[in-house]
Amino acid sequence: MAGQIFAYIGYKDGVPDDSALELVAAAKKIADAPVNALVVGSGVDAVCSEVASSYQEVWKIDSDALAYPNAEMIRKALLNILPQDCILLVPHDTFGMDLAPGLSIKLDSAFVPDAVDFEGLDGDTLKVVRQEYGGAVSTHVNCDISAGAVINVRPGAFQADESKAAGGSVVDKSGDAGDMSAGRRYLEIVEAEVGDVDITKEDVLVSIGRGIEDEDNLEIADDLAEAMGAVVSCSRPIVDAKWLEKSRQVGTSGQTVKPKVYLACGISGSFQHLGGLKGNPFVVAINKNPKAPIFQVADVGIEADILDFLPELTDAINEQ
């Protein structure tokens, strides 16, 4: 059997991320074995006690030098405390992407990015489910964990394990962290700009994606939103192209919205986009590809070209 399982705990302002308990569930799908948590940072006692009941042991590294989570420094510290053959689960978020691939190289262990499920361990072979091409297809991958593994787990892919059945103790590993000098130094956070509308407060969003094809076509979405009394939001490529302001972007690197009704128009439904859609809204997807992943999560789907369909819908609403 492979090494001990660890889960890296992400947190913000002293509160563990949702992924903290999702990783408990993920670990249980790998093996029926005790799981340890890693909590790294400065002043982390609150986080440790919050997750202690869910993990066998909580290993903490508490250091003033880690007031901001610098992945290179944390990598060095983890190399000094982790058993080399361990299986380490890390949330596949902006920190996990920064830390985990390089850590796997230094541990000389296997790396699996963005895992969404585990389908059992057979000897030293772990069967992992991933998605490719923005969720259009799924794939099984076999991972050789004989020399350990670092696995990035997609936030939200596992149902949080709330059983709190482990009753763990906190083990202070700060003394073993060693030298944490780094070639990259944190300076500051620049907050995202506030835009002209606050899409997080809107009940009805007409959201457009790359399917809108051209900046001139934005008018179609504006007209529909006006007819519906809604506001226009969008997926990331629309912001990358500078067609709409960043403040209108829905997703993990944009806004988290909680509308009652969400019209996804020409949006494929990537997990980063859907990660910003909360509160269980009524989702209508309009897409010309009947296999678009968005149809898996939408309540109602329409297979249509939005450039034709949206104006029809606008006209019909205006006629009422």
Binding site: F95, P113, D114, V137, T139, N142, Y186
Partner: protein, 263 residues
């Protein structure tokens, strides 16, 4: 500034419907339109802008079959000075670590101040940049959406983090950065640009040239192996509205009214 940019040839998801092939071993590759990975295009644009700003050169490198030459050439048409193709039957089946191992060998054949990758490619892995940096023992920043020159020892980079906030860092050169979309507006490449580089020689390096052992890369060196492709059985999925456009519009308006979607 001598800059190396890693670029991958991928199926263009905006142009294709990605489907699983008949025996589930791969996606259906017949009739696929390929292009350069979206993120890599931003990385090349950033490299060209840095070069235009402070001087130096831009080299693009790709690991792939001979078809990958076309994306190397395209990025040269954009303004990269040199292109390198890493291609060998022994590279087939490489996992992320295998690709990073090959790119490392390419980096070590040159002398670069800055190495750029895309934040992620078509399989959404977001792994090669971080692995490459660790193998080279260079500082690394992922999801970079801003690069500012400071001096010849260091630069300032912004990383995109949750909620669209930006984490500013100072990072020592040489370093590896993975570039996030939106950092710039990649320039358009016209037919004339492509023609200008049509006959440029693009060197191809195999395992021997790079000095990498055949067991370190390819399927032989891979700890992570893809078994099959499939489309998962869905739970409920969306209720698809059928009928003429008028009928669909009518049904949708009823639903929107019921759910509070019309004011």
């Amino acid at each position: 500034m001598e800059i190396l940019v890693c670029v991958k040839r991928v199926p263009d998801t905006a142009e294709n419907e990605i489907e699983v092939n008949s025996d589930g071993t791969d996606i259906e590759r017949d009739d696929l339109v390929y292009s350069v990975n979206e993120w890599d295009n931003y990385a090349v644009e950033e490299a060209i802008q840095i070069k235009d700003n402070v001087g130096g050169s831009v080299t693009v490198v790709s690991v792939g079959d001979e078809e990958s030459e076309e994306v190397v050439r395209r990025e040269m048409a954009m303004g990269a000075d040199n292109g390198i193709l890493l291609s060998d039957d022994a590279f087939e089946g490489s996992d992320g670590k295998g690709i990073a191992t090959l790119l490392k060998a390419a980096v070590e054949k040159g002398k670069y101040d800055l190495i750029l990758t895309g934040a992620q490619a078509d399989d959404g892995a977001a792994q090669v940049g971080g692995m490459l940096a660790a193998m080279l023992d260079l500082p690394y920043a992922s999801l970079v959406n801003k690069v500012e020159m400071v001096d010849d020892k260091k630069i300032k980079v912004g990383r995109e983090i949750e909620g669209g906030n930006q984490e500013m860092n100072e990072i020592d050169l040489p370093c590896v950065l993975s570039i996030q979309t939106g950092i710039n507006e990649p320039r358009y490449v016209g037919i004339r640009g492509i023609r200008k580089v049509a006959s440029v020689e693009i060197p191809v390096h195999g395992a021997g040239d790079l000095g990498v052992g055949a067991d370190a890369v390819g399927a032989a060196g891979a700890k992570v192996k893809c078994l099959d492709y499939y489309v998962p059985e869905l739970g409920e999925g969306a209720e698809m509205l059928e009928g003429s456009t008028d009928e669909i519009v009518e049904k949708l308006i009823e639903l929107l009214k019921a759910k509070g979607g019309l004011k």
